[in-house]
Symmetry: C2
Subunit: 458 residues, 2 copies
Amino acid sequence: MQKPSLPKGTRDFAPEVMVKRNYILNTIRAVFEKFGFQPLETPSMENLDVLTGKYGDEGDQLIFKILNSGDFLSKAKPEDKDDYKALIQKISEKALRYDLTVPFARFVTMNRGVISFPFKRYQIQPVWRGDRPQRGRYREFYQCDADVVGTDSLICEAEIILMINEVLGKLGIEKFALKINNRKILSGIADYLGYPERVSDMCVAIDKLDKIGEEKVLEELGQRGFSEASLQKISPVIALSGTYAEKIIYLKQIFTSSEIGRKGLEELEEVVNLLSQITQKEDFIEHLHIDFDQNLARGLSYYTGAIFEVKALNVSIGSISGGGRYDDLTGAFGMPDMSGVGFSFGVDRIYDVMEELNIFPEENTLSTTQVMFTNFDAEAQKYLLPILAQFRAANIRCEIYPDSSKLKKQMNYANRKNIPYVVLAGEDEMKAAKITLKNMRSGEQDLLTASEAIQKIQ
Amino acid sequence: MQKPSLPKGTRDFAPEVMVKRNYILNTIRAVFEKFGFQPLETPSMENLDVLTGKYGDEGDQLIFKILNSGDFLSKAKPEDKDDYKALIQKISEKALRYDLTVPFARFVTMNRGVISFPFKRYQIQPVWRGDRPQRGRYREFYQCDADVVGTDSLICEAEIILMINEVLGKLGIEKFALKINNRKILSGIADYLGYPERVSDMCVAIDKLDKIGEEKVLEELGQRGFSEASLQKISPVIALSGTYAEKIIYLKQIFTSSEIGRKGLEELEEVVNLLSQITQKEDFIEHLHIDFDQNLARGLSYYTGAIFEVKALNVSIGSISGGGRYDDLTGAFGMPDMSGVGFSFGVDRIYDVMEELNIFPEENTLSTTQVMFTNFDAEAQKYLLPILAQFRAANIRCEIYPDSSKLKKQMNYANRKNIPYVVLAGEDEMKAAKITLKNMRSGEQDLLTASEAIQKIQ
C-alpha cells in the first residue's frame, strides 16, 4: 500500500487555514457587494480554443489540458502519433482556466444580449498554471477579481481605490502604498523622449526599476536603442519625487507638446477630484494611501488608462493587489470596443502578509465552534442534549463530544480545536439544574443556568 | 472569428443564479458550523493513483485526466504509442477529483498525526465526471458533504437528522420525507430469508422498488436464485407499512434468530431515543419528518450502519440529500478501521426544487445591490457622491450609475438588476439638502434626508 500524496504545487486547506482564508474572502466579498458588484462563476474547464493564444506562447505552455474520455488513440491517424501538436489536438479539447479574465470575456461575449451594461461582476475562483512550483507559487490558487465593463466613467477608478482601502482597512493591514499611474502618462513620457511608438519597450525597462535600480534601467533603455539625449531627459522623470501636486506640476511642463500625456494627467486628476468629493476630507490622498508613481507600468501593454498596484509595507512579500483600465476585453472573441476597469486581490499573498504581521483577529483564528459540551456518561449526556439544542436555537455554534471518553481526552480535543468555551455537567450541576461554563482561555468557571450561559457567550 | 462556447455539460452561473445558489450554500454552511463541523478544501487535482480503483470500472472511465505539461510523446516508448493504457500512464499523472469522499480519505490518512479525532469536517467544492450530459446531470457540479470520522457514537446520526431538518426548514422546503434505515436491518432480513451471505444481491433488487414495484422486485430476486419460500417470506417485509413503532415490533419478531438484525434495530432505536431526548417533543418523529423505510438500501454496499435519504415531496426531482455510516473510510490508503458517518446535500437538486416550488425568498432573488444612485449630471453627481459614501458607511450595498446617461436608461438598469431602491437628486432635492428615495416595487417616492433614507432601508 503506497502512501498517498498531493500533486506538486497543490495544497490542502485544513480547517485552521480555511477559517483564516474565509475571513479574508468574506471581507473582500462583502466590500465588492457593498460597491454594487455581483458574483459570477464560470466553469473550471474551458474549450481549448477559448484559452489558447490569450496568454502568449509562454502562458500557453502552462495551461493544463484535459484528456478527452474514451480511447482517443484509435481515432488518431498513425502519423499523428509521433507529432506532439497534432496528437494534442486529437486527444484534448478542454483545459483548466488559467485566469478569470478570459472566461469573463467569454461570458460577456456569449451573453451580450442579456447583460445590463455597465456590468459589474466579481469572481472568486481557483485557477491553474503549470508553473514550476516554488515558495509562494502554486499550480492551483484562487484569484479574486472585480471588473466593471461597458463604461469609461472614472467613478469606477475612484471606487476601486475606495474598495482597496476598505478591504485592507477591515483586514487590519494599515501600512500600504496604493500606487497609481496612467498608461497615457507613460505614453506622454515616451512622447517627451521623442519615441512615441516605443512606449511598451520603455515600460518593460522602467518596470524593473524596483529590482535593478535607475542606473541599470537607463542602461537597458540604451541597449534598446534609446538615444543618449533621451536618457538624459528621462533620468529626472524616473527620479521624480515629491508630493502628488508637485509631480503633476512637473509633468504638465514636460507634456506641453504631448496630448496623450496631458490626457493621462487629466484622467488622474479627475479620479483624485472624485475622491475628494466622495471623502470630503482635506488629507484624502494620505488617508487613502494614494501614491502617484509615474514609473508604475505593470508590464501589461493590455492597460490603456489607470494602472493600480498595492504594496504592503514592512513585509517580505509586497504586492497584494493590482489592476487597471483596458479598452478591449472581448476583441479576441469578435466583440470590439468593450472597455472596462478591474482589479484583483492576491489572496495567498494577503494571507502571508497577515500571518507575517500576526494580525488575524483572535476570534477568527479560532475554531468555528464556540462551545464544546462534555460527555461524562449516559446520564450527563441525556441531561445536556436538550441544553445543547437550546444553545443552537440561540444560534451558538456548538458540539457535544460524541463519546463518554476520559475527561482529559475531551478537554484536549477542545484545546486542540481552539474552542473557546466548554460546558460541563456532573451530579452537582444536574441537582441544581445548572451547568458549568468554562472559559478555556482564562480558565474561569461559572455555575449558570442554560439561559445565563447563552447570554454570557453571545 | 469563431463564436466562443462552453464545454458540454458545464455552466456559467450568472449573478441572478449565483445569488440564489449562495443563499442555499450559505444556509447549509451556517448549519454545518452550528453543529461543530469545520471547513476543509482539497485541491481540484489529485494524483491518478489516489483516484483510480475507488469508483469501480465504470467510475474510473468517467475520471477527467489531466495531460502532463511538456512534450510527453518524446518520453513515450514507440510501442506505447499504439497502446492506450500504456500511453495514458506516460502522459497523465493527475486527474480532477470525482467526489469529495476519496480526497477526504486521502487527507485524513496524510494528516492522521495532527488531526484531533473525532474529526468533523464539511467540504463544499465542485467535482467533475465525464458522464454523458443530460437534463440535471452536469460534468462539473458542486458537492456539499459533512462527515464525522473517528467515532461510532450514534449522536452523530441523530445530529445529521437535526441538520437536515434545520437546513430544509430554513430554506422553506416543508414537505419532505427523511427516510432512514440501517444496513444491519437489511442484513437481518437476509438472515431471515436464509441467505445471510447475499445481502448485497438482495439490496440491489430491493433498491429498485420505487422504480419497478414489488412484483418485479420479487421476480428479480427469483432470477438471482432466491428460493420461492424466501420470496414468500420477504413479500410482507417489503410491503410492511404502518407507524415507526409498528414496524419495529414486526421486525423484532422476524429477527429473533438474527443477531445482526436485532443490532440494527437497537441502533435505530437508540438514534430515535436520542432525538427524543434532544427535542423533548412527543411528536418528534413527525416533526423531524422521519420515515423509517426498511427497503432503503441506496445501492452502496459501502454503508455498514445507518442509511439516510431525503426526498422532497410533490416535486419532479425527489432525492435531495443522502448518506450513511461506514466502517472503513481510509482502508484503501493503508489506514484501517476509520469509521464515520456522513451525508451530502445535492445543491443543484435543491435549487431545482426551490425553483419548482417558487420558494426563494424575494429578498434573495434580488440583486445583491440595495440602492442605485442616479446620475443626472456632474453637479448632481458631485452632490450625491458623499451621500453614497454615507450609505456605504451604514453598510448599505449601493452603486452610482457611472455615466450621466438618459434617466430612462438608468432606471432600466436598476429594474433589470432588480435593485429595490433608487436615489434621485435634481435641483429641488439639492436646494432642500435632501434626496428622493424611490421604492422600485411599490413605486412610492419620498423626499428624505440621507439619514432618514438610510433608516428606511435598513
